[in-house]
Amino acid sequence: MGSNVSSVHDVPSSTETKNGLVVEMESRRQWRSLFDSMKGSNKLLVIDFTAAWCGPCKAMEPKVKEIVSRYPEAVFARVDVDRFMDVAGTYRANTLPAFVFVKRGEEIDRVVGAKPDELVYKIETHRV
């Protein structure tokens, strides 16, 4: 699952992230690049685990978009658990949606479920 084939249009290793938007992970290379690039900084990375079969994830999507736009200093990466089964496995993302908070490569917190208020509260707590 996930692509190991490099393409002409590969994103350079200093991964371009779109501030205030959720970045959909398209390849393992992109994910690794993003994850590694954030290890060195104190920036908050929020991994948004979703799946095609997850109704609650779709219910939450518009709220996530709105919340993310308010915190451009944090990086939000959307990971499809079926396309990236190993990443989902590493973070035990079985019950979705799951928002995993990572700083310097370590998980520091998570929100499981479509809980916008809880998500905002934890972003506020961890963004510094």
Partner: protein
């Protein structure tokens, strides 16, 4: 007992559909998605007609679980369970759900509507003013292909005001549901236990308050395997959906003295190695609330009725919680199998 207050007793609707693999298979998930393909906007529209909204939700490989402003909604590939309390118009969801399923080429196979007796029956809007009226409305919403129908009120002789109302309609007489469904209704909750379900100063939001209530009340210990999606209402009240593989559970609490109520429902198998036997699970759930009045309705579905299970539940509740079984009724319903309705009160008041 208060003159009027929030109605905790829920109305429950279950719709089951025939398995049709041809158009509903998702390429990413191993099993067909079926009803889970219904887009959220459409679900939300149905809920608006019922007069409730989604306050929290989770999903896993097997099903989607939504906590509503007035109870819960579960969406499996071929089954919908919706349970609402207060004065909601649950039956208005039947036609829209059937229609949405039809757009996915899913045909209705069976319907079950059940409820206890309302604490404030006069506060209910039509058709919930009487079971007869409810049955007329449900029947009217169902296709003729559901030929086998039965409506019955299971009334305990010792307490006729706490009856169990069941209507089933099914394409086949034989039940198709592999899980046993247990619905527990509790009233006159211990006031100290009920206090856990009031919001406190300083708790951050409804989600974190809900999480605290789950922990403090011991609800997280009922099934330690389950992920609990909880929510605390303002100024009081609590709801949770439990998710454990393909098994669901749900708890709803109205803690106010005078009309306090709590419900516990779960789908389980009687042969659940290592998952905790039914009597233990029920005992743990009821112990959270220490109610003075409990009723348990068990729908066996495709499982054969086992008298030993019923007796074991009675023994365990008597031994661990001092609850004496005051009535036990049993009946058969097409498509749903055996339904057993027991009521309990403490051994010494």
């Amino acid at each position: 007992m208060a003159v009027s207050g929030f109605e905790g007793f829920e109305k429950r609707l279950e719709l089951r559909f025939f398995n049709d693999n041809t158009t509903t298979t998702s390429t990413t998930n191993k099993s067909p998605m079926g009803l889970r393909l219904i887009d959220f906007e459409s679900l939300d529209q149905v809920l608006t007609q019922v007069q409730c909204t989604v306050v929290s939700a989770v999903a896993n490989h097997s099903f989607d679980a939504y906590v509503l402003s007035e109870s819960s909604l579960f969406v499996y590939p071929t089954k919908i369970i919706i349970k609402t309390c207060g004065t909601t118009q649950l039956l208005k969801s039947i036609r829209p759900f059937i229609h949405l399923a039809r757009t996915l080429n899913l045909t209705l196979r069976a319907c079950r509507y059940s409820r206890g007796s309302f604490i404030f029956p006069k506060s209910q809007p039509f058709p919930h003013t009487s079971f007869e009226d409810e049955v007329v409305i449900v029947e009217d919403s169902l296709p003729k292909s559901l030929r086998h129908r039965k409506a019955f009120v299971m009334t305990p002789s010792n307490n006729p005001s706490r009856a169990w109302h069941v209507f089933t309609a099914s394409a086949d007489v034989e039940p198709d549901e592999p899980l046993v469904v247990v619905e527990v209704c509790m009233t006159e909750l211990d006031p100290v236990n009920a206090l856990s379900f009031f919001r406190r100063k300083g708790d951050e939001n409804n989600d974190s308050a809900g999480k605290e209530m789950t922990r403090l009340s011991g609800i997280d210990a009922i099934n330690e395997n389950a992920f609990v999606c909880d929510f605390a209402f303002d100024p009081c009240g609590y709801s949770m959906n439990g998710v454990d593989g393909d098994r669901y559970s749900t708890i709803h609490v109205t803690p106010e003295d005078g009309f306090s109520y709590a419900s516990f429902e779960c789908g389980l198998s009687l042969h659940d190695d290592g998952r905790g036997d039914i009597a233990e699970v029920l005992s743990r759930a009821i112990d959270v609330f220490r109610p003075s009045c409990v009723s348990i309705a068990t729908t066996y579905g495709g499982e054969d009725y086992d008298r030993e299970v019923t007796k074991r539940v009675e023994r365990v509740l008597a031994k661990k919680l001092g609850l004496k079984c005051r009535s036990r009724l049993m009946d058969e319903f097409p498509g749903s199998g055996t339904v057993v309705f027991q009521s309990f009160t403490p051994r010494r008041r």
